[in-house]
């Protein structure tokens, strides 16, 4: 079902996200170069790539605080995303957002919200609009297992199911919500089972297997467009780094991290493609190189961009 070209695309996308975020880790360690929080999805790239590369350009994504992967995989330009994270005028949102709430309407990344659970009802709205406008557009909404505890999750799922809305709810279960592990904040082992309570389809997916994520998303997308209503996909994955880069991860067992790093989504796909003979080591090296160069260019673009003028703070509160 999935072509080799698509598999290579998934790998390429994951590599870009990984290099992009490794660079952010490096920069935040270097001190004052990044203001505010740096929240990464390192280790979760298969979800970002697998989902977003399964979508069409018109499809909408709604993201959360762990958004860099989603945005880049959806096709957001790395330079302006980096510039936004660094607060520059050339950033996607002119420095208004910073890393936490980047919107890239050009690629239909219509909303990133850092209010946990806040995006889930918005996805109901974008999906409703597409249904109303009779456009073949699916909304995908990303959120964590922690967000599935908010009332907004439950209200949104119920409404989406009731109205058969074309929305894929992607719960990125990275085993932690802040300093709480999954078992400490909910008794259900699989968030996907909650779909049942709303008369909706729900599946658990191996979130470190980019191909599995891709196929589950394609299938969910097809269902949505056939008018069969929303789907809840729970991607089981893992957060390699702390909640954010200032978090020393004291509560997160080292062995647990190590075990999940063994199942690195990039390594898994790369090894599979090499074994299948789809890729050679030389091509992999080229891909690595390309990702690194793209990131270097993004950083250079951002660092050479001007800061906004203070008065620009007044702009964009309303439409002109």
């Amino acid at each position: 079902m999935i072509t080799s070209t698509k598999k290579i695309d998934l790998l390429e996308s994951m590599l870009l996200v990984r290099r992009f975020e490794e660079k952010l880790t490096e920069m935040s360690r270097a001190g004052e170069r990044i203001a505010g929080m740096v929240i990464l999805c390192t280790g979760q790239e298969a979800v970002a790539a697998g989902v977003c590369r399964a979508l069409e350009p018109e499809d909408v994504i709604i993201s959360n605080h762990r958004s860099h992967g989603h945005l880049l995989a959806k096709g957001a330009p790395p330079g302006p995303v980096m510039a936004e994270i660094l607060g520059r005028r050339t950033g996607c949102n002119k420095g208004k957002s910073g890393t936490l709430h980047i919107a890239v309407p050009e690629v239909n990344a219509l909303c990133t919200t850092t209010v946990v659970g806040g995006g889930i009802p918005i996805a109901v709205g974008t999906a409703f609009a597409a249904q109303y406008q009779r456009r073949p557009v699916v909304t995908t909404c990303f959120f964590g297992d922690g967000a599935a505890d908010e009332g907004s999750f439950h209200e949104a799922l119920n409404l989406a199911a009731l109205w058969h809305l074309p929305v894929i709810f992607v719960c990125e279960n990275n085993a932690w919500a802040g300093a709480q592990r999954h078992e400490e904040h909910t008794l259900v082992q699989d968030i996907a089972t909650r779909a049942l309570g709303y008369g909706m389809t729900g599946h658990v997916v191996d979130g470190n297997d980019a191909v599995a994520v891709y196929e589950a998303t394609r299938e969910a997308r097809r269902r949505c467009l056939e008018g069969k209503g929303p789907v809840l996909l729970e991607m089981k994955t893992y957060r390699w780094r702390g909640h954010s880069e200032f978090d020393r991860q004291l509560y997160q067992p080292k062995e647990e991290i190590a075990a999940w790093m063994e199942r690195c989504p990039i390594k898994l796909l790369q090894e599979a493609l090499l074994a299948e003979g789809v890729l050679t080591y030389a091509v992999v090296a080229e891909m690595e190189d390309r990702a690194r160069r793209t990131v270097e260019e993004a950083v250079a673009f951002a660092m050479n961009s001007p800061w906004p003028e203070p008065e620009e703070a007044l702009e964009n509160v309303f439409c002109d």
């Binding site: 203001a35 505010g36 929080m37 607060g87 520059r88 005028r89 950033g91 002119k94 420095g95 208004k96 957002s97 910073g98 890393t99 936490l100 709430h101 919200t113 850092t114 209010v115 946990v116 659970g117 806040g118 922690g146 967000a147 505890d149 908010e150 009332g151 907004s152 919500a177 802040g178 300093a179 709480q180 400490e184 904040h185 909910t186 702390g242 909640h243 954010s244 978090d247 020393r248 004291l250 509560y251 800061w307 906004p308 003028e309 203070p310 008065e311 620009e312 703070a313 007044l314 509160v317």
Partner: protein
């Protein structure tokens, strides 16, 4: 006297009140095990000191946290719950605004809701407008809620202890920017209770009254020192400490003495609590005014991320000095 940071002072208040009264318990996201593993954090170590029964880590569920407080309070417990950042009050606000604030009234005075909601606010830490939005005026707009917003570690301790003992719902704002500034705090050997509803004159002066709460109080003091040194203008700095109930007497007394008023706050100007203060003074002390009232507030914009943009909106000593100079005709 011991020197404590704001967070440490808050923790001391929590410890003392939890030791004193077994009905007091804590709940919130990360109040026990936190990603901020920092001894200066308000609830650091409390899980170990007390028990998981009294220090409850909750799911990410603000509506449930606030509802938990309302329900537990009416049963006779004294919940101190935490809503991480001020903008998330909006998620908890059905329980706070429609229930905590009104249920005593609706019971004809029969029920009590002795709960405290601790919430981080201030001018921010570079996370942008979904983490920083000062909503104290929203809370103060609801009859039935007490609203506290201290500016020093000592006041924070004394006010929180009083808030926990108060039989009414109290919204307790903690200014993030003040977190690491140490100050004198009375220890356990004295009963340090700062009354809710009493403003504090942080500096005496005769020429102008500067009213503030939270971080802007420090900016007001800085401005006052500079005005005294450079212009011979003596500003009185009034720290409201509590917005609801408002200490009208202290406010009017000061303005009647100085004849001039500057109100400073980190919240947006329009509909901010500064408007309430200005209106109160205009209604009650108009004849004493020698100049118009000035508000130095955050601009009417969401808090932007980029440092130069974020800095632009924040009321600082320079803006306060400009406002004062306009009032005393120094320009």
């Amino acid at each position: 006297m011991q020197q404590l940071t704001f967070g440490e002072a808050v923790r001391q208040a929590l410890v003392e009140e939890m030791r004193r009264d077994p009905a007091v318990f804590l709940a919130g996201e990360g109040v026990g095990v936190s990603i901020h593993d920092n001894p200066k954090a308000p609830t650091y170590g409390l899980l170990q000191m007390f028990s998981p029964e009294r220090v409850k880590d909750t799911p990410v569920s603000e509506a449930a946290i606030a509802g938990l407080a309302v329900g537990a309070a009416v049963m006779g417990l004294r919940p101190v719950v935490e809503i991480m950042f001020s903008p998330f009050l909006t998620i908890a606000s059905d329980q706070i605004v429609n229930h905590a604030a009104k249920l005593r009234y609706l019971s004809g005075g029969k029920s009590r809701f002795p709960l405290v909601v601790r919430v981080k606010a201030g001018s921010g830490a570079g996370a942008g407008c979904q983490h920083i939005h000062n909503l104290e005026a929203w809370m103060a707009h609801c009859p039935g809620l007490k609203v506290v917003f201290p500016s020093t570690p000592g006041d924070a301790k004394g006010l929180l202890k009083t808030a926990i003992r108060d039989d009414n719902p109290v919204i307790f704002f903690e200014d993030m920017v003040l977190g690491l500034v140490p100050g004198p705090v009375p220890g356990e050997e004295v009963e340090h209770l700062v009354p809710i509803g009493k403003a504090d004159v942080k500096r005496l002066g005769r020429d102008v009254t500067i009213v503030a709460w939270g971080r802007p109080v420090l900016e007001a003091l800085k401005a006052a020192e500079q005005l005294a040194a450079e212009n011979g203008v003596e500003a009185e700095v009034l720290d409201l400490r509590t917005l609801a109930p408002l200490d009208r007497d202290a406010l009017l007394r000061s303005v009647r003495k100085t004849g001039r008023l500057v109100v400073v706050h980190d919240a947006n100007k329009t509909g901010g609590f500064g408007a309430e203060i200005a209106a109160t003074v205009a209604e009650e002390a108009f004849p004493s005014l020698k100049a118009p009232i000035r508000r130095v507030a955050a601009l009417d914009i969401p808090v932007p991320f980029s440092p130069p943009l974020a800095q632009y909106g924040i009321p600082d000593a320079a803006r306060i000095i400009t406002a004062v100079k306009e009032l005393v005709n120094l320009h």
